[in-house]
Symmetry: C2
Subunit: 351 residues, 2 copies
């Protein structure tokens, strides 16, 4: 059995902040060609895809992103017994180590399902940089599957599906005037007040989907208005973030947010991502959960599982590390979590 | 009779954006020593004070600031018949030209009241730079008087007294969290919503003082909150500007604004200036208005008249140029306005 904590530490020693993933992609590609010689390995930019071709009836894709957020005084990995601290340990080089181990085993013996392992760039930044997006656009054959598992940190839970997310900018116009003569102008910030009150008072629903409780949310995440202390402001901009449960279509959710922004002069959808249904009834999902009777909870944030769901592929999150510590200086992963995740997935794949 | 339009043009040809008034102060001082040899001239920094000492029973101070706001493609004065266009023409080198003419006449014959002419720096910027403030602090004897007239542009109206102005920053605290799990945090922008609604709904009073209608105002002039589109904001800052009529004390007005900001975690008074009562009943004020039966209206914005009022000196605004065009690229003054203003003040002073 591979020492997954040591392997994770080696991967963490190669910095890979978004936009700078090439060195890590080189390392991953080299390891795959060395330890999993029977897999087909393809490289597209800083994306590496390794596949078995056994002719099995079904195919499972397992994915992990290569990039990390910027360092927060935690660039160098640090071992403390069976715990590895540092940037990328949980999000998600621990998951990449598990994927490399699955590749090695799948090269030694044929898995129960054909396996596609995707190591991709640009997950932590704007969608246009996302490697999975590029693969779906340019080589959809490489990411086709019957089930997708993303090794985002879930602390061993199956985090099923994911909520959709929408950002809308609502802008209110006004007209400048001296603040001693405000009736000569129109105060854009005052005009925004009812929107703020409406959203602050909104009570988001808790939605049951496949027995999981998706807790929706609606937040104003930014507001900006005013140009000088003696001038009636002529513009006020409000950014609203909506998270919605996977029982709804994206278009419906956008229409709801736009209705909540009624009164604004300009409503711009900054980004809008579909939700992914949990699909707990789907046979491969049910089988994976059943291997070890894994605990299941809904995924409230958005992940790339929605990208698979949008292409008709059932998808879930399952990976080592505590999601609450991702993107914090306290990020870490421990040996038990890595070994447990590898054991669950290996059992599911018959490896 | 001096050509006041030509004199204004000469003064405008010497740039004097706030902080850079020394050259204009030199020019004014030199002109005073040349054309008004009988006046006592004192120089403090970029402030010039010229005084008669005839032993008259009463003294009138007439003031004008040397500085201008930054140029707005209008740095060089431009003549068009009897109209002078450009930065500082109305605000307020036209007024300075009138003051120089009054100095010249007061040197030729004793005025009815002793006269103090104050040319001062730093009016268009933060209060700490204000030359009148320095004079009141360091040489109060130089600005003592029974009546103060500021030659701010009023288009020939007497703009009586002035409203007080207060800026308060109300800050709301929150706690950051991922916007998919907002219940883990506290949204500071949502917490500010009731304040916005309360101020947007506020109906400012119109207050009668000495028969003049002071129209108060209450405006949010700035708002800022949020750090990232996926993060529940942990701070929201709101700047409120209150303009209040001169029937009230500053402390009462501050207390009112602070009460309106109830719910904020931090309330900071950024600046707070007293109002100046119109004092239309005051004998010298009534006499000045009566010279030409001048039209009178309340001053809604704040001016340095309040500085005199705070020291017990009745004060009013009366000067050439349209106040609505001050600080705009369309700023201008015309010959009739300059000559009219000089005639009114000369008649009042018996010059």
């Amino acid at each position: 059995m591979t020492d997954l904590l040591a392997l994770t530490e080696e991967l963490c020693a190669i910095p890979s902040v978004s936009g700078d993933e090439a060195a890590l992609a080189d390392d991953i590609e080299s390891r795959l060609r060395g330890t999993a010689p029977k897999l087909d390995v393809e490289r597209l930019g800083a994306n590496v895809v390794a596949r078995t071709e056994t002719g099995a009836a079904k195919r499972v894709v397992l994915g992990g992103h290569l990039d990390t957020v910027p360092a927060n005084n935690n660039l160098s990995p640090r071992r403390e017994g069976d715990v590895l601290h540092g940037l990328g340990t949980a999000d998600m080089k621990g998951g990449l180590a598990v994927l490399l181990e699955l590749a090695r085993r799948a090269s030694e013996q044929p898995p129960r399902y054909d396996v596609t392992l995707v190591f991709y760039e640009g997950e932590e930044v704007a969608d246009e940089h996302n490697g999975l997006r590029k693969l779906f656009e340019q080589r959809r054959d490489l990411v086709a599957a019957d089930l997708a598992v993303l090794l985002e940190p879930t602390a061993g839970w199956v985090e099923a599906g994911c909520q959709g997310t929408i950002h809308v900018r609502a802008t209110f116009d006004g007209a400048r005037a001296h603040s001693a003569r405000p009736w000569m102008g129109v105060n854009a910030i005052h005009r925004a007040a009812p929107l703020l009150q409406r959203i602050a008072n909104f009570e988001p629903a808790v939605v049951d989907v496949d027995g999981l409780e998706y807790r929706e949310s609606l937040q104003i995440v930014r507001i900006d208005g005013g140009i000088a202390n003696n001038v009636v402001p002529d513009a006020c901009s409000v950014v609203v973030n909506r998270r919605y449960a996977p029982n709804r279509e994206l278009a419906d959710a956008i229409a709801e947010v736009e209705a909540l922004c009624a009164g604004a002069d300009h409503i711009e959808v900054l980004n809008a991502s579909v939700a992914a249904p949990p699909n707990l009834w789907q046979p491969l999902v049910a089988e994976l959960i059943g291997v070890y009777d894994l605990p299941v909870r809904p995924k409230l944030g958005w992940t790339d599982v929605a990208r698979f769901a949008a292409h008709g592929v059932a998808a879930l999150n399952l990976g080592p590390g505590d999601p609450e510590l991702a993107h914090t200086p306290a990020e870490r992963v421990d040996r038990g979590d890595l070994d447990g995740c590898a054991a669950v997935l290996a059992a599911f794949l018959g490896l």
